[in-house]
């Protein structure tokens, strides 16, 4: 269980996170959704203990995050935390030496799925390939909680769709995914739960099965939470061209 309780984070006087609380159980696939600047990345970095200071409490199976339980967390972002001079297979050797539950079979399968070269240094990869390598490593580490922050910039849509399919087939019930993305339409059937952030606050938290029972589409639900009003937008446009509009 990953417990996030009343998380607060300030950057100077700006409040990046404002009282965010939720609990992730094993087996969940949680979408962390919200506009740019909503606090998604900050939240993930707080969980990973990457931030120098924040308030609140984060517990991983009942314990604070530290060297003792770091191995339970994995992180894939587009910030490239791998070693540029090492090849994919050298990364495998390195990961295997520090993570006892490293899943080599999954690593090789994902490497082939993305068609990543095994013996070329990572720094020679394209941007998309670098993001893919990062994703492969995070998923193979053997972690219980896998955090992915917009991991697919640089991949095409078919690659992403197939990747979600593959992941649905690979994931075990004792693994959880927390995925931040703005490509909601693509992940709406993949997720089991959606947590919606807005300006550092938690706007909503919903089980997708509940939305499905109510016959509500995730994207429509988000618009509703945001108070989005398409008629209002159209009206604004008309007002802006007032006088210039011919009926």
């Amino acid at each position: 269980m990953l417990e996030i309780r009343d998380l607060q984070k300030y950057y100077g006087h700006d409040r990046a996170l404002n009282g965010v609380s939720f609990i992730v159980s094993l087996g969940e696939i949680v979408g962390l959704l919200g506009e740019n600047g909503a606090g998604k990345t900050t939240l993930m970095k707080a969980v990973l203990n990457f931030l120098p200071e924040w308030e609140g409490e984060i517990l991983l199976d009942g314990e604070r995050v530290g060297p003792k339980n770091y191995h339970k967390l994995a992180f894939a972002s587009s910030e490239h935390t791998f070693f540029g001079g090492l090849t994919a297979m050298e990364h495998r050797d390195f990961y295997r030496s520090i993570f006892p539950d490293f899943d080599e079979k999954r690593f090789l399968l994902l490497l082939d799925f993305f068609e990543l070269p095994r013996h070329k240094p990572a720094r020679s990869f394209s941007l998309g390939m670098k993001n893919q390598l990062e994703t492969v490593l995070a998923l193979s580490q053997g972690a219980s909680y896998i955090l992915m922050d917009e991991p697919f910039s640089g991949s095409d849509i078919f690659g992403r769709e197939d990747f979600y399919r593959l992941l649905l087939g690979l994931l075990r019930p004792d693994e959880s995914i927390i995925l931040s993305t703005h490509l909601v339409e693509e992940v709406k059937h993949f997720l089991s739960r959606a947590v919606l952030l807005r300006r550092g606050k938690m706007l909503a938290d919903v089980q997708l099965s509940q939305l499905e029972d109510e016959g509500v589409d995730l994207v429509d639900w988000m618009k509703e939470q945001y108070g989005h009003n398409s008629a209002r937008v159209a009206q604004l446009a008309m007002e802006a061209r007032e006088g210039g509009d011919t009926p």
Partner: protein
């Protein structure tokens, strides 16, 4: 093993209902027979690209309706009598027809107009044959 590759999901109805409907259509049309196995839930989840909870829900619904049997450890298989398949067909046809009636009513068509339209289109489609 029932083949799900022809199932194309849409955004109009909940996914689990689309899965159940797909299986029912296979039963009604005779492409699925009693005793036939379903692929594993994990496989269906990956094939359709939907969360395992959704597949689980579809299976539970089919179990409750009595035409899917799941044994712990092994997979799930279809189990139905010809009477059940006939009843399924009646229910599905009724559902489809009600949906149709609902939409033509919204367009303001009355009973006579609808019946006449069905007659006309039927004749057009079948070249006048009674089938």
């Amino acid at each position: 093993m029932l083949d799900f590759t022809a199932l194309k999901l849409d955004d109009q109805t909940p996914i689990y209902q689309q899965v159940v409907r797909y299986v029912k259509l296979a039963i009604i049309s005779g492409t699925a027979s009693s005793g036939e196995e379903l692929p594993s839930r994990r496989f269906l989840s990956a094939l359709l690209g939907v969360n395992p909870n959704t597949i689980q829900k579809a299976c539970r619904l089919m179990e409750e309706e009595g035409f899917l049997q799941s044994a712990a450890g092994s997979g799930s298989s279809l189990s139905f009598t010809p009477e059940m398949a006939a009843e399924m067909k009646r229910a599905l046809l009724r559902e489809e027809t009600l949906r149709y009636l609902d939409s033509v009513k919204k367009m303001g068509l009355g009973r006579q107009a609808v019946l006449a339209l069905v007659e006309d289109l039927w004749a057009e489609e079948t070249g006048g044959e009674e089938r």
